[in-house]
């Protein structure tokens, strides 16, 4: 190879991969992103929607049984008072975290690749938090008294106990849901206005007109809008870190060996981002194909997410190791016992499932070929989801089932009703996500246009091909 060839080849590596198909123009963004909203759903959508609805019905039946007879329907016992239900709660809350990370933290770090995926990831956050919220609500036993969780003036003159981490959770999760919803909606306003302006049908125009609040794209409005968006991103960033920290306090503030560790908040946050990104990859690998958005959600986006999965997977693995080291180094026999029991006790299988799925399998992402292979990343993302579900199960059940007194040791097995509620939670999540794909733009059109190569060259006529992804 001659020297100029080598130089050319090296120079080619410096050009960043374009984030959006360089052939696309501004108008293509609206046409492509709005197309799924403007045609009847295809058979694949109905099939997925049908399956999700059946799962949801199974869940509703199981919830009905639980509410009708009480949580005696579950496999809980005197020693293991928390198990499946709280596992599912922490799992779903964690899933939501990737959405906020993409929408807020990557925004503050000016990661432009977020624009193609933030809308759907934020939708995922909202639906995941809604799904998660169901579990503690069911778990309170007398669900019709759930409003007692909030401090409100009442005739008993009693207030809630503000020193309890469970109450911190109420505030954290409800704030998280509210702010995520507001952030998502503010981001949607300009795009809903786009849908309004291209609507041919009167009713459609009216509905999207109301939802858009009458947005016109005025530069004076954009000026405030961009500031507000940045402020909301700045507020969401510490919020998302606080939410899973507070969820981890549910455990860490207790004095139970296996729960009582200071490493929990960062460890939970890393795990949440890890599992959330895996869920985003799972959803987007399918959605980009079904909605025909391959030009916008490109391999470079998925590859970047896979890199984050690998990084957070290693952080989680490091936390697992630290826990064991601390247990040994503490010289506390209860602490040591819990961890030996965790890995080699009767629930050892779940521990090793967790380690395999979360620590070992994501290591495959060291290879670029694997990071960019749709089928392999899909399988890995499912493994990560399974692994992260097991992580919460391992933390909760193995710490509880053998506590200080061997006479009260017991085993926990989920009842069919609990499994039904887990299935139902997936049904609810996917039902909501599939409906979202039908009625709202799944890609933030106004943000994508801002990162298109054509920004400097208008609607994509002369001269933008040469500059390619240099702006990306």
């Amino acid at each position: 190879m001659s020297t100029p060839e080598i130089i050319l080849r090296n120079a080619a590596q410096l050009v960043k991969e374009p984030l959006i198909d360089p052939k696309k123009k501004y108008a293509d963004v609206n046409n492509d992103v709005c197309a799924p909203l403007e045609r009847l759903p295809n058979f694949a959508w109905w099939k997925a929607f049908g399956i999700a609805n059946v799962c949801l019905l199974i869940g509703l039946t199981a919830m009905g049984l639980t509410i009708g007879t009480g949580i005696g329907q579950w496999g809980l016992n005197r020693t293991v008072g928390w198990a499946f239900d709280i596992t599912n709660f922490v799992f779903w809350i964690g899933i939501g975290h990737a959405g906020t990370l993409i929408s807020a933290i990557l925004f503050l770090f000016r990661q432009k690749w977020r624009t193609s995926i933030n809308r759907s990831a934020e939708a995922m956050t909202i639906f995941a938090v809604m799904t998660a919220g169901l579990f503690p609500l069911i778990h309170v036993g007398r669900q019709w008294m759930a409003f007692w969780l909030f401090p409100y003036p009442n005739q008993r003159d009693l207030w809630v106990n503000f020193r309890s981490p469970l109450l911190w959770d109420v505030f954290a999760v409800s704030t998280y849901f509210t702010i995520s919803l507001v952030f998502w909606y503010i981001g949607l306003i300009p795009d809903i206005a786009s849908v309004r302006d291209r609507a041919k049908n009167k009713i459609r125009k009216l509905i999207y007109g109301i939802l858009s609040l009458g947005w016109t794209g005025s530069a004076r409005a954009w000026n405030h809008y961009e500031t507000a968006y940045m402020l909301l991103a700045g507020l969401s960033t510490p919020l998302v870190l606080s939410v899973h920290s507070i969820v981890s306090f549910d455990f860490a503030v207790s004095i139970l060996p296996g729960w009582h560790t200071t490493i929990f908040p960062p460890y939970f946050v890393a795990g949440a981002i890890f599992s959330g990104f895996a869920m985003v990859v799972t959803l987007l690998v399918i959605a980009r194909k079904v909605l025909g958005l391959e030009s916008y959600i490109r391999l470079v986006h998925l590859e970047n997410m896979n890199k984050i999965i690998m990084l957070t997977g290693m952080m989680v693995g490091y936390a697992y190791a630290t826990e064991f080291f601390t247990a040994w180094y503490s010289a506390n026999e209860y602490e040591r016992f819990v961890f030996i029991n965790r890995a080699f006790g009767p629930y050892g299988w779940s521990y090793w499932t967790m380690v395999t799925c979360n620590v070992l399998i994501p290591q495959l992402f060291w290879f670029k070929k694997i990071r960019r292979s749709l089928s392999i990343m899909f399988v890995i993302s499912i493994f990560v989801n399974i692994g992260m579900w097991f992580e919460r199960f391992v933390i909760i059940v193995t710490s509880l089932h053998r506590d200080f007194l061997p006479s009260s040791w017991s085993m926990y097995k989920p009842s069919i009703v609990e499994v039904g509620i887990l299935i139902g939670s997936f049904g609810m999540f996917f039902t909501l996500f599939l409906l979202f794909c039908r009625v709202l733009p799944t890609i933030a059109m106004s943000e994508v246009k801002g990162v298109m190569h054509g920004e400097q060259h208008g609607t994509g006529e002369a001269g933008h091909h040469a500059s390619g992804g240099a702006h990306g």
């Binding site: 123009k25 501004y26 108008a27 609206n30 401090p151 003159d157 207030w159 809630v160 106990n161 503000f162 020193r163 981490p165 109450l167 911190w168 505030f171 954290a172 704030t175 509210t178 702010i179 507001v182 952030f183 909606y185 503010i186 306003i189 206005a193 786009s194 302006d197 291209r198 109301i210 609040l213 009458g214 947005w215 016109t216 794209g217 005025s218 530069a219 004076r220 409005a221 954009w222 000026n223 405030h224 809008y225 961009e226 500031t227 507000a228 402020l231 507020l235 510490p238 919020l239 606080s242 507070i246 306090f249 059109m445 106004s446 943000e447 801002g450 400097q456 060259h457 208008g458 609607t459």
Partner: protein
């Protein structure tokens, strides 16, 4: 009876007349790309025009300078409502736990400051976030159920610059020529 019906009808007509918007009057130029829009905006700004606006499908960087817009005041709203939220959250916890009904929980102090931090933080974020969103909607004069849409593609791939006839330095022919020279693909007088 008939009399009161007539009165009601009269009130409704008056209300409608009050609610009906004044039609926009001015000159509008439609652009196909943001650079020429920015150029035109800067020229209009230099003519000391205040009553003008640009319409773009996405936030165009540099348009604030070109139009001479000031930095948004919203950070102040966020900051002050965050402070209020912080005080409200902490105040509620201290008042309920130490003043209204001091209850001994596990021998902990009535004002357990470290345990009150998480909720104080969440209230700060909640108040600040909701106030920011509310202030944004108010300052953009939304919701507006009957917006003036100058061109249906302004939320798609077109850009517009509108100069209102209400501006004291408004000169119709001069401004439409200016817009044309700046690269507008279509200039209309409203």
């Amino acid at each position: 009876m008939a009399n009161s019906m007539a009165q009601v009808k009269q009130v409704i007509t008056q209300a409608e007349a009050h609610m009906a918007k004044k039609p926009l009057k001015g000159v509008v130029g439609i652009f196909s790309e943001p650079e020429s829009l920015k150029r035109a905006a800067a020229q209009i700004r230099d003519k000391q025009v205040k009553e003008f606006d640009a319409f773009t499908p996405f936030p165009v960087h540099g348009i604030e300078e070109a139009m001479g817009l000031k930095r948004s005041f919203l950070p102040w709203v966020t900051f002050i409502s965050g402070l209020i939220g912080c005080a409200a959250g902490l105040g509620l916890q201290i008042w309920t736990s130490a003043v209204d009904w001091p209850l001994n929980v596990g021998g902990k102090p009535f004002v357990s400051l470290p345990a009150f931090i998480p909720i104080t933080f969440e209230c700060t974020v909640l108040f600040a976030g909701l106030a920011t969103a509310g202030a944004l909607i108010a300052v953009c004069k939304l919701p507006n159920m009957n917006p003036d849409i100058l061109h249906p593609d302004l939320t798609n791939d077109k850009f517009a610059l509108f100069v209102s006839a209400e501006d004291p330095s408004y000169r119709e022919t001069e401004f439409s020529d200016l817009l044309k020279r700046a690269g507008a693909i279509d200039v209309r007088t409203l």
